[in-house]
Subunit: 697 residues, 2 copies
């Protein structure tokens, strides 16, 4: 197993590492740089938990949401739940089959954004990107909220302080990700497998007790009654309710697309392995979903949208103090017994998997950001892979938005899920539609009959996928719009508008700076260089700047000093003469001790005299090691530089002088270079291009 470290081993390593690095290297190998780490490819058994934690964890909340909606028509409506589960299973099956085609056709890991952009054009791609960005925010909000609720069924304190705990987990994950915790597959593998195993044991044991032993298992809410909010629904109203329940159940599909973003991280044959993993994930998710719903019906779980009023104990509402536990923990309580070891383990594993699912969004958000930056929809500096600054900004934005949602919605997963499903199905639909176009295009040129048959089959699958997910999207929009889906749509619009504006800005600038075909442009044909070295005193930085400026042979070279104190100016002139420096020294008077204005005025006057000359200003600069030293040095230089840049025909040269303290900064920079961007394990290695050493035009 890649990089598997058991906790006690890690502890040993931690203790030993202070004595010597050798045992550590023997035990876990040389520390990997982030780029090296990426080159470790994932076998299927690790890839499954890494990419499927998001999708699998959604079975922790999807079944409950179905029952919640049905309860509106009273407990009798629960008998529709198997049919709804079946519908969700059909959609899940379709989506998995569709994405198997994506994985084969687009092994680059660009995911839905790439598929939509390539086949449907940039607007569709940007729509998908906006949907995915909103989705990442909601993955964090929903998963953590739901995790807190699951944890809460074992630890009451947590559920009593839901918002606080949820925000605390967000902060914790944020800090972990900002610090750059090195990931390993085992981080995902252990809790995910414990969770899957736990659910399967629960299903098997529950089935055994019910069918073989004939036990009557009772969920803690089994003897509650539900006051139907809308009694005797029929016709359109009933259909609408069932569709709403189905929409909620589709929350189980969130995260399915993750594998298609991670193909490069798989072992070869990448696409095949990814497709197999996707199928395994589908089978697991479907089994767990159906099993949990079945057990919920058997154990008579009762859930209501407004438990305080609609859940009756005898004939009295349970009141606002009542906390409605998730279906999965209610079923676990019925099957394993409250407080039993397996109950606790399952509750903990469920919460942990949900937190891991949230963590995947922390990794996915900056990766998508980097792809969008490459296409100039986001600031260009984000395009660096695993760049710390870009990563940090993305993480803070994501965490801030998620925390805001958690606070606004009072850490209520049911209300947050209403927002969740829109984005997922927007990207499903657009991606599948894109795939249909993809096959159409390839079929136009493909001659090989075998391949054609294969493509036609794939196209059929994707076409059905597009149709079905599109249908679900419409259903979701119709049934959920007023329940909160509009918020998700608004978020998508904001992302879309911002990214369009950024792209427009870059395009406009690109046009503005595009070079003419004939290089006749006056602005780029300067005639001579007039160099100015700024001098305050004759110390080493100045001497260095003077030496460098002389070395560079401009047409005219002079030193310029701003006189703010007659005594200092006098000393400078004397020193200048004594040292016999053969550069003319010009002194400008500045009664208000300003530095910037006289220099700018002088440079402007030079430019007026000979407009085709270039003025080159040399500024000696101190390089320091601590932030507070920056406050003490270079401030005037910085401001001057800022102003000079606005003056046309000027270049500004910093001649750095490294003070001793700058060593400290160098050390810090080295440490920073060893930072590991979280999420690299999911991203796979970079494809190395053949080196192009150096060429000459």
């Amino acid at each position: 197993m890649v990089g598997l470290r058991l906790p006690y081993k890690a502890l040993t390593i931690l203790c030993v590492s202070k004595l010597t690095d050798v045992p550590k290297r023997i035990l876990i190998g040389r520390a990997l740089r982030s780029d090296r780490l990426g080159e470790t490819l994932l076998p299927k058994r690790i890839a499954l938990p890494v990419f499927a934690s998001d999708a699998l964890s959604s079975v922790a909340y999807a079944p409950g949401e179905v029952l919640l909606v049905l309860s509106v028509a009273g407990v009798s409506a629960y008998h529709f739940s198997p049919w709804i589960a079946l519908a969700v299973v059909v959609v899940m099956f379709t989506v998995v089959a569709s994405y198997r085609q994506n994985v084969h056709a687009y092994p680059s890991g660009g995911g839905d954004y790439e598929v939509a952009t390539t086949n449907l054009g940039p607007k569709a791609g940007l729509t998908v990107a906006s949907a995915l960005l909103v989705d990442y925010v909601l993955t964090v909000a929903v998963s953590i909220t739901s995790g807190i609720e699951n944890l809460g069924s074992a630890i009451p304190f947590v559920v009593e302080h839901k918002v606080l705990c949820a925000v605390a987990v967000i902060v914790l994950l944020t800090l972990m990700n900002l610090r750059g915790v090195k990931e390993s597959g085992s981080l995902f593998a252990i809790p995910t497998y414990v969770f899957v195993a736990g659910v399967f044991i629960m299903i098997a044991w529950g089935a055994f007790r019910a069918l073989v032993l004939g036990d009557t298992m009772q969920a803690p809410t089994a003897d509650f009654h539900i006051k139907a909010e809308q009694e005797g629904l029929a016709g359109f109203a009933l259909v609408f309710l069932l569709l709403r329940a189905f929409s909620s159940g589709c929350a189980a599909l969130t995260g399915v697309e993750a594998v298609s973003n991670g193909v490069p991280a798989f072992r070869k044959p990448k696409s095949k392995n990814a497709a197999t993993t996707l199928s395994m994930m589908g089978v697991l998710a479907i089994t767990m979903l159906v099993g949990i719903i079945a057990l919920a019906l058997v154990t008579d779980v009762r859930m209501a949208e407004n438990p305080a009023q609609d859940l009756l104990k005898g004939s009295v509402p349970v009141g606002p103090g009542y906390v409605q536990d998730p279906v999965i923990t209610q079923v676990a309580e019925a099957v394993f017994g409250n407080g039993s070891f397996l109950f606790i383990v399952l509750a903990a594993a469920t919460a942990l998997v949900l937190f891991l699912a949230a963590n995947t969004a922390y990794n996915g958000f900056p990766v998508l950001g980097s792809i969008l930056a490459q296409d100039r929809y986001l600031p260009r500096q984000l395009h660096t892979r695993g760049d710390r600054l870009a990563f940090s900004n993305g993480i803070v934005l994501l965490a801030g938005a998620a925390a805001l949602l958690v606070v606004i919605y009072g850490a209520d997963s049911t209300r947050l899920i209403q927002l969740y499903i829109v984005g997922v199905f927007v990207s499903f639909t657009l991606s599948q539609t894109g795939m249909v176009r993809h096959w159409n295009r390839h079929l136009r040129t493909e001659k090989d009959a075998d391949k054609r048959r294969h493509m036609i089959r794939s196209r059929a699958i994707n076409a059905f996928g597009a149709f079905l997910t599109g249908l679900v999207l419409v259903v979701v929009l119709v049934t959920k719009f007023t329940h909160g889906a509009w918020v998700a749509l608004l978020g998508m619009c904001i992302f879309f508008a911002t990214m369009t504006a950024i792209r427009k800005h870059y395009d406009r600038v690109a046009e503005e700076i595009a070079a003419d075909e004939t290089p006749s442009d006056e602005t780029i044909r300067p005639s001579r260089v007039h160099s100015i070295v700024l001098v305050s005193k004759l110390h080493r930085p100045t001497l260095r700047a003077l030496a460098y400026a002389k070395l560079i042979r401009s047409d005219r070279l002079e030193a310029l000093s701003i006189s703010v104190d007659p005594a200092e100016t006098k000393a400078l002139k004397d020193d200048w003469e004594r040292r016999g420096i053969d550069i003319p020294l010009k002194i400008l008077d500045s009664p208000y001790r300003e530095v910037t204005r006289p220099v700018i005025d002088y440079v402007k006057s030079l430019r007026r005299e000979s407009p085709r000359d270039v003025v080159s200003v040399y500024i000696p600069e101190y390089v320091v090691g601590h932030w507070y030293e920056h406050l003490l040095h270079n401030q005037s230089a910085l401001r001057l530089k800022g102003r000079l840049l606005f003056t046309p025909g000027v270049m500004v040269t910093s001649v750095p002088y490294q003070l001793e303290s700058s060593e400290a900064a160098k050390k810090r920079a080295r440490k920073r270079a060893e930072w590991n961007a979280p999420g690299s394990v999911r991203r796979g290695p970079v494809e190395r291009r053949p080196k192009e050493p150096s060429s000459k035009a």
Copy 2:
């Protein structure tokens, strides 16, 4: 009156200015730049309110403090108050006489800091500076708090929300000063003269009513009783209490030194006019102080340190809801009648003068900062006179500290005053001691008998001043230390330590960078220049950078591109060839799309190959106009620049390309240049030195 603008006139101007500038120019003259404004010298009648608002306003709180302390020994101790007033008057007289000598000897406006540094050395100077900085903070805190209390006797709401109102006034003054409100003498003249006139009318009318009409005037607290906290004090305990009362009374002396900082702003003969103004101020302050205390005794004002318990109505304490009004308003109520027009006017004028006194600190703090920066005790960039950035930083620091004190001390002027007097007397004592040394030094060389006699007289005055203020300082320290003076001392120590550390840092750096006498230093004798132009695409900024770099003729010139996308690199190479650019293009591979690391590594490898070469890196840079555009451009260039500066033997040249949007920034810069530093009216004009055009070594 200089620059007097009545509100309705200002309003007219505001309306008209939108139509045309001509009427405005006719009415108020051409807009003055801050440097021009400074050249308007102040006549005595304007200088008095400008510089004396601080000192005169302190009579609003000093008399009350005396009575408060005496009340500890019961109301019978009030009969000591005339003697304490007399002692304060003696000190005031001495201090004014002493500062008249300062004004003549140091007409440059350096004030106590200059006197102490010149005559007693830098440590004494720094002590004075620390004391003055603490003083400025306390001037704001005490004056505003006291102003709020005075306002509160007319408007109960204000006193019920003391802390809130005080902080609001601080915020208001801060914003006004940050925005750079143009000052005029009238801003100070009107409220100060109204205040002085009001107090004099009150004293005269009160004396007339008491002596001629024989009226019995009753302060609102006249029939209260005071429960003496320490009954029957005698001996040392009584003396100590009287000394404490005297210390509190000395609060009347705060602000006296202001004139000595403002000599350059006076009309000629500067020193003589300043000395006269100082005397006028002394006479006014003494008369007002004595008058108010006398009226307080006549009208039976009762004040207690803890009014809630020690002020009895009959024999019942007034309780915590009781608000103790300042002496000046109690007296005004007794003399003019509660709610009468003159009472309201006086309360408002008092509050306004106190706020103006706080405002003087806003002006004084950055001026002192600029002087300290010149001596390298504060960051060097603060030395620019009226520099906006320096000014803003100083203002925010001052306001933050003052607001903190106001909140901590619950806007209780009595508690804040305990901190106030230490700093004032530290600088008085050191300044006067310095003056004695000054005269001693001059007497050593002076031959003229007349002048010698004059100097000996001045020395005697200053020596007595030093002795008396030193004595007061000891009294203040002994009687007030535990009451809060230690906070002021702590503040002084913090300022002192910080400034010493900054100076040490500058000195260490100066030593590190000092040039050797023989310019044999290897580091400043490079042999050749290897120039590198960073290229991403062939657009105008790049072409400009290439053209500039070529113009400058280095020993070796090449273009360097980091390949982050093979397609783009290919396009660049093709473009390069097609345009026939005669500079070799080197391409470095960067699979992780990093830009910084490959460039740094390449530069380092060049340096290793030929260590004596200088590497000159040209970076094309976009100049933009809006802050958010900065997020979209140059981030990689900025980071690269930052890293390159740490590599020895490198210079970094920015070749700016001004985008169209940069025009917006230029306009803003022009606006900013027209900003007026508040306080310029008190600072006087700069002495112009003869221009030194340009000289050649």
